[in-house]
Symmetry: C3
Subunit: 247 residues, 3 copies
């Protein structure tokens, strides 16, 4: 038994969009402190870890920790129907998730079936990162588009004084050198230079829900998974992506 209420239905929509950009199903764990979800994408090369504290809700009643498995894609579509000024209520009802949008003179209720989630994950990858870079969200989206012109992969290299992006393909080569000047690269810390290559499509899906004006934190270690995270209001979304090893 749980009943959650949020004064702005569109905020929960934004949260769920950050999850659905990578995975199609998952289990939300609803506990006293908030709601969390950890899931791998269908191909198993990336992972998403989401957390939103209970304080983000105007009402947060949970009898005991509960896990609800959902088709996240369907949940995202339902939430995309949120209108301005609508209040959101989520509760369990007859083994379904009831999602209620409450507006002036209107009560709209969707019921979504609960599902058994195939692949649950419990733990995040344990990597000792050597470098961390904080990049403004919009420029990072553009950097990914730059590389997309040339290749399906992008290499990130964090060094002491700069953050370098490279991409190679049949139609040409790209090299971008970004200095930590505060407009694009907000912060750069590299105990050791770190260099790895990643799939661009996954990265694109990971950054696309970053709210306008927010920064994205990236942690790197040579040829190890990247960790990428940002805030959506009180919520935090964290992604991991395995490196691509050129053969």
């Amino acid at each position: 038994m749980f009943e959650l209420k949020m004064d702005n239905a569109k905020y929960w929509r934004d949260c769920v969009e950050s999850i659905v950009s990578l995975i199609d199903e998952g289990s939300f764990n609803i506990a006293k402190d908030g709601i969390s979800l950890k899931a791998m994408d269908p191909s198993g090369i990336s992972m998403v870890s989401f957390f939103i504290p209970s304080k983000a809700f105007s009402k947060f009643e949970v009898e005991k920790p509960t896990s609800i498995g959902l088709n996240i894609e369907n949940l995202g579509k339902v939430l995309s129907r949120a209108r301005d000024d609508e209040v959101l209520v989520m509760k369990d009802a007859d083994s379904k998730l009831l999602i209620e949008f409450i507006g002036k003179g209107v009560r709209r209720r969707y019921k979504l079936p609960l599902i058994d989630v195939r692949k649950n994950v419990e733990k995040e990858p344990n990597v000792q990162f050597d470098a961390s870079v904080e990049v403004a969200g919009e420029p990072l989206k553009e950097i990914i588009k730059d590389a997309n012109l040339i290749s399906s992969y992008i290499s990130f290299k964090a060094a002491k004084d700069n953050f370098t992006i490279t991409a190679h393909g049949d139609s040409g080569e790209l090299e971008e050198v970004h200095e930590p000047d505060g407009t694009v690269i907000k912060k750069l810390e590299a105990q050791k230079a770190a260099d790895a290559t990643f799939n661009l499509e996954y990265l694109e899906n990971m950054v696309k829900s970053c709210p306008i004006g927010n920064s994205i934190s990236m942690s790197l270690r040579t040829n190890e998974p990247i960790k990428l995270s940002y805030n959506i209001g009180d919520a935090t979304i964290t992604y991991y992506l395995a490196p691509y090893m050129e053969s």
Copy 2:
């Protein structure tokens, strides 16, 4: 012999778009009092009835009542080429419809061939409706999108105190309860509760030409066709749609 003139070509374009959203050919009947068109959609489950009074034209000369059969889709495309501040003239010429757009220093003339319309309809369905609902146009478009998430069908139920929408599908259920508070439901009158289910694609095409800010009137009777109509300036467009009987 007829010659019709309208000072704003884009208004006639809007009128024709409301017809072409449902049917692909039809006959305009041009008489002293105005122009009317009644036609069924190709599948025969819906009907459109259009009327525009002669006063909507700045010149309306008709020798005797005339019927002109047209490919309404082609007519709609030609009218979509109307520019701001252009005057529209329509007249018959050599068994064709001449459409003239007159702008500053420019005269653009399209000639469209007349066709024999396969399926003419003379009368509108005779239903004794039990309930009528007046809904603001934009919210009704949103309601139809809500249901589209879940199903290809939507059920409308008009009762004394509220207007309820339901939809069911594999991915979930939707129930919307709208009270007559004046923002979405402008007026609700039900002598008897009325409940019927309709195809969403047809409804979507019917409501899409409703001008922003206008209301849509719906008349319902249990398991009978719905009547849906709205104004486009001086013109009135009325649609009928047969109910879907779940088996």
Copy 3:
């Protein structure tokens, strides 16, 4: 050895877009006075001739006249990545074209391979035109769309007092008469009436890079190629298109 610099990278992007709208590869000739390119489209029925004077660049160093063959489509894509306030540098490096975008704290470098261009053209068609028409760019784009409704071809007829467009197809006919009133037709000079028919798709591609507010000059002679040109800042783009002979 050359090094060219432009203070606004997006201006060079606009120039290249006018070329890539018609051809996919070509050779830029870089000489003291500026950069030129002449190329035929793959089908051989149209030609593009581009010139930009050296004064359009803030730095223009060329040791000796140089020709660089490029996949213009790839070049266009790279230039589409230009950001606001970025400076553009182009130079040769290891038999490649190095394109550098320089922003605040950022240096982005693309390298594009040089290619052997299959079909080089040296000279522009030698036609003694009988009429010239100067048309505002946006209205000409609309005229081409008008004709597109009806046909894949458009006929232009320049006479002493007006400029007439016609198109014929199964779904109808179009005739537009434009008088030289200064809003659409800026100037009209016909020593002799000139009348020819052209492929609409080619014309559409030719006019689409015309900057908003600019005029397009067309030169006509009966059943001869059309010459169409406009300015993009200091640069001039000129297109030729062979007439379509109805059989």
